[in-house]
């Protein structure tokens, strides 16, 4: 069985990502390889055009002295030319180092310098300016290539060139050296590093995980073998290119299975483009599923009374049916009939509005998804499944299968992988995708991989009797309340975030007498709610300080408390007057809370949560988008009254 898998990764004609693009050009040259929405139109590049473009770019790089082992970074939104640039570098034996496009300059400099990047491909003027501002601190940088020339016409930088110029130079170079590209491409082997993925790092500085071509191709192949992906399927590439998840889907899986990747017009149009495209597969981190859910909830609440009634009826019916199904009980006929009707009236149209009507499978990964959110989408007929992996294991390792998707587990390992839980409850993985090591950090590598090849993920989990993996939390986040009750902050946070009015929550409780939380309201929905109730507000800070909004959140928390065991109910919470920002290092670029850092930064707030005070004065350093810093002084109210379920009933 295992021998049959990973054939591409071991075959010398297909053992690197750029070689796979050659195979696709040869085998299905005229089929659509990648699309980009530009000037309002989806423009298609066939696999042949895909390959030609990356070859010309690679030759352009070669003409300017790009050599085996050099590193190339892309910074920008998902664009075909940025994907090609990475493959071009790999075709010459180089390594791609994608970086987060919204990272501020000081964050970028660490990664670019540490990885010794020599070529940066930037999407537009904004990114070019950012890179130019760092030039003095990047001794390895030789050239900057931009794809969108707008606003750059007057720049007189010798190291600056356009994508088109690079490709033109490449075509010229190719005429003089006709065999150069193919020869370089054939020299590449599966064990070469393909990418250095800097981990989002909920702890400390990001580390550069080196993944080889074999890692990513074998992992993608194993994944494809267990999921019904068909050639020519459409997927939407909208997640940050620096995130290993996008690399695995939009490059590795797309190349292995000849899936057509579609790049939206821009970050603001993703949702519109999603609906227009109706992809066959959709991958999103929990944050986005939560946002989609909130939108459905808000639209339903805004609808006329009749629509609201119908929606509510079928939503409940779907929820109960889903619960019955999860318990493995038989579903009565009347429920099935109601479900058919609901499919026509509610579920189908809602899926259509979300752009998920054609989606055969949807994935949530990167962080745990709250069970209520998960159940909602499944009950509405979205084949939502959880996936779990680590950057160091090429991401696509453990995932749910269609027939069995329980909200509390993340599924089974892909074929070709092994899993074990060590004596401390930590999840270990072994398989073809376990990385080469951290770039220039051998001691960290030795810590992460055991001598016999197991990757230590740092996540705590257990395997249930059905063989499904359940993630408890980041191993070091799980704690105990003073009385010994186990406490997993993420579990509580996900419950809280199910409320459409709560965008972010950070729960505390380890070695404490009770559970508390910092809550960030959802500016859109809470703002909408305020407008409907004739409440004027000027800013996020103003809105989160409104006593009426506090009332609203108190009621929401009381509702959530009613579903929690007595001992881990929220006793006190504070409404933060600022959002958690990646620029302030409070969350990672993939929107995971950096718990230790937040606990330190908000020490005063936490002290007040456990003290008796009913408000707290804080002064916080905030970072603006351009890297400037300022101080925010604010008084935040602490709420601890009427959070009990009984109080809710009384009210």
């Amino acid at each position: 069985m295992t021998a049959k898998l990973s054939t591409l990764a071991t075959e010398s004609r297909t053992c690197t990502l750029p070689k796979l693009s050659r195979r696709n050009a040869e085998s299905f040259g005229r089929a659509p390889g990648i699309r980009e929405k530009d000037r309002g139109i989806w423009r298609t590049y066939s696999w042949q055009a895909y390959y030609d473009n990356l070859r010309d770019f690679a030759l352009g790089l070669a003409a300017s002295g790009f050599r085996r082992g050099d590193k190339l970074s892309v910074v920008g939104d998902n664009r075909p030319c940025l994907y090609w640039a990475q493959l071009a570098a790999q075709a010459l034996g180089g390594i791609a180092v994608p970086v987060y496009q919204d990272a501020i300059a000081s964050e970028l400099v660490h990664v670019l310098d540490h990885a010794e990047v020599s070529v940066i491909v930037a999407e537009d003027q904004e990114q070019v300016d950012k890179v130019l501002s760092l030039r003095e601190r990047l001794p390895h940088l030789r050239s900057i290539i931009f794809s969108d020339p707008r606003g750059l016409g007057r720049y007189q930088e010798p190291m600056l060139r356009s994508h088109a110029q690079t490709q033109a130079a490449g075509r010229e170079f190719g005429q003089k050296h006709p065999d150069y590209f193919e020869r370089e491409l054939d020299t590449g082997c599966g064990d070469d590093a393909a990418i250095i993925a800097y981990t989002s790092g909920t702890t400390g500085r990001p580390k550069g995980a080196m993944l080889s071509h074999r890692n990513v191709i074998a992992t993608a192949e194993n994944y494809v073998s267990a999921e019904h992906i068909r050639r020519g399927d459409n997927s939407l590439a909208y997640l940050p290119m620096a995130w290993v998840g996008d690399m695995m889907f939009s490059l590795a899986t797309a190349l292995v299975a000849a899936v057509t990747v579609n790049c939206p017009e821009g970050p603001e149009t993703v949702q519109r483009d999603l609906r227009e495209l109706g992809p066959h597969a959709f991958f999103a981190p929990p944050r986005i599923w939560e946002t989609l859910l909130t939108q459905v909830q808000v639209k339903a609440a805004d609808a006329s009374w009749l629509k609201r009634l119908v929606y509510e009826f079928f939503r409940r019916a779907a929820e109960q049916r889903e619960l019955l199904r999860a318990d493995g009980k038989k579903i009565p006929l009347v429920r099935n009939v109601a479900h058919r009707l609901g499919e026509i009236l509610i579920y189908g149209p809602v899926r259509d509005q979300l752009g998920l009507r054609n989606a055969r499978w949807c994935l949530s990964g990167g962080a745990p998804l709250g069970p209520d959110t998960f159940r909602f989408f499944r009950s509405f007929g979205v084949n939502l499944k959880q996936i779990y992996g680590a950057t160091e294991a090429s991401a696509l390792v453990v995932f749910q299968r269609d027939r069995y998707a329980d909200p509390n587990t993340v599924g089974q390992v892909a074929p070709g992988w092994e899993i074990r839980i060590d004596e401390h409850g930590e999840i270990h993985l072994r398989g073809p995708g376990v990385f080469l090591g951290y770039y220039k950090q051998e001691d960290a590598t030795r810590e992460a991989i055991t001598v016999d090849g197991w990757l230590k993920t740092g996540d705590a989990g257990l395997i249930d009797p059905q063989g499904q993996l359940a993630i408890i939390d980041r191993a070091k986040d799980v704690g105990k309340l003073e009385d010994g009750t186990p406490f997993a902050p993420q579990f509580i946070e996900n419950k809280l975030k199910f409320s459409p009015f709560i965008r972010e929550a950070v729960a505390f409780g380890d070695s404490r007498p009770f559970v508390t939380a910092m809550i960030v309201i959802d500016f859109n929905t809470a703002g909408n709610w305020a407008e409907r109730h004739g409440l004027a507000y000027t800013s996020f800070m103003d809105l989160s300080r409104r006593p009426e909004v506090a009332e609203l959140i108190v009621a929401e928390v009381a509702k959530i408390n009613a579903t929690l065991p007595e001992s881990v109910r929220l006793r006190r919470f504070v409404l933060l007057t600022k959002e958690l920002e990646a620029d302030d290092a409070e969350i990672t670029r993939t929107r995971k809370v950096r718990r230790a850092f937040v606990a330190e930064k908000y020490a005063d707030v936490i002290a007040a949560l456990y003290g008796g005070a009913d408000n707290v004065q804080v002064s916080l350093v905030v970072t603006f988008e351009d890297g400037r810093q300022g101080t925010l002084k604010s008084t935040m109210a602490i709420h601890g009254e009427r959070l009990d379920a009984d109080a809710l009933k009384a009210a």
């Binding site: 530009d38 000037r39 309002g40 139109i41 707008r150 606003g151 016409g153 007057r154 017009e265 821009g266 603001e268 149009t269 519109r272």
Partner: protein, 266 residues
């Protein structure tokens, strides 16, 4: 943000010249003997206290008012007696102080309307929508999509403008003016009522229009910071008369200007 080097301006032949223009409303001389030269590719700002005649001057240039006296010449052609639509067709586009968009139409349709004077096919051709009419529509749509890309309006392309926030509607209005492919763009307080972020964005767009598309710009604006930052030349009006003209630095130190803004010393 720095102004254009002056060498780029001025070397070309004069584009738009306004000579000794006057306009009276009853006993009030709204514009009184004003002459302005707008060279090809220049960015000229007109400032002055309320009621100084800035908007009236713009209305005269764009043909909404007939001047009582004086001449307006665009590239050697006298346009003084022309109708507003003829002047638009000759390449002078404008925006309005109070946004004048079709609020029920989408952003895209508003921009397409801006192409109206450039469209050839009539009602019959458009109804049949085949051959020339179809090709024409595609060509116009392409120009509008360029503008949508230029002004970053992709996500609101299909939304009615009435539902958009104020700053965005101002941007759409700029887009509609640009859809005309003008050689001269008249902007009447494009940043009025905007916050700092929106102003910076708008200033960026105006500069890009001016520098990358080579469009001459006549700008009326109250925000002195913006005016001084982006203009090649500033003209100051007071009570319908031109009281100063020169580089931003010259104008700022001109005693007549200071007096017009701050009042005479008692």
């Amino acid at each position: 943000m720095t102004a254009l080097p002056l060498s780029i301006v001025g070397s070309e032949t004069s584009r738009l010249s306004i000579t000794d223009v006057s306009k009276r409303f009853g006993g009030v001389a709204a514009v009184d003997g004003i002459s302005v030269e707008v060279e090809k590719g220049a960015l000229v700002s007109i400032i002055g206290p309320n009621g100084a005649g800035k908007t009236t001057l713009l209305n005269i240039i764009s043909g909404f008012f007939k001047p009582d006296r004086g001449r307006i010449v665009l590239q050697g052609k006298d346009i003084t007696a022309r109708k507003p639509n003829e002047i638009a067709a000759m390449g002078i586009a404008r925006t309005f102080q109070n946004i004048a968009l079709f609020s029920g139409l989408t952003v895209l349709d508003n921009l397409m309307l801006g192409r109206h004077v450039r469209m050839r096919s009539g009602v019959f051709g458009s109804v049949v929508y085949w051959g020339i009419a179809q090709r024409e529509e595609i060509a116009h749509r392409e120009i509008c999509e360029e503008l949508i890309d230029f002004l970053k309006l992709q996500d609101v392309r299909k939304q009615p403008t009435g539902a958009l926030p104020y700053g965005l509607r101002k941007r759409v209005e700029l887009g509609r003016a640009l859809a005309l492919e003008p050689s001269v763009l008249l902007l009447d307080e494009p940043m009025g009522g905007m916050n700092q972020d929106e102003k910076e964005d708008m200033a960026r767009y105006i500069l890009d229009v001016n520098q990358e598309r080579g469009v001459s710009v006549v700008l009326i604006e109250h925000d002195m910071g913006v005016v001084m930052d982006i203009s090649d030349r500033v003209i100051v009006l007071d009570y319908g008369r031109k009281i100063a003209e020169g580089s931003p630095a010259d104008v700022q130190s001109n005693p007549a200007v200071i007096q017009a803004y701050l009042g005479r010393k008692p």
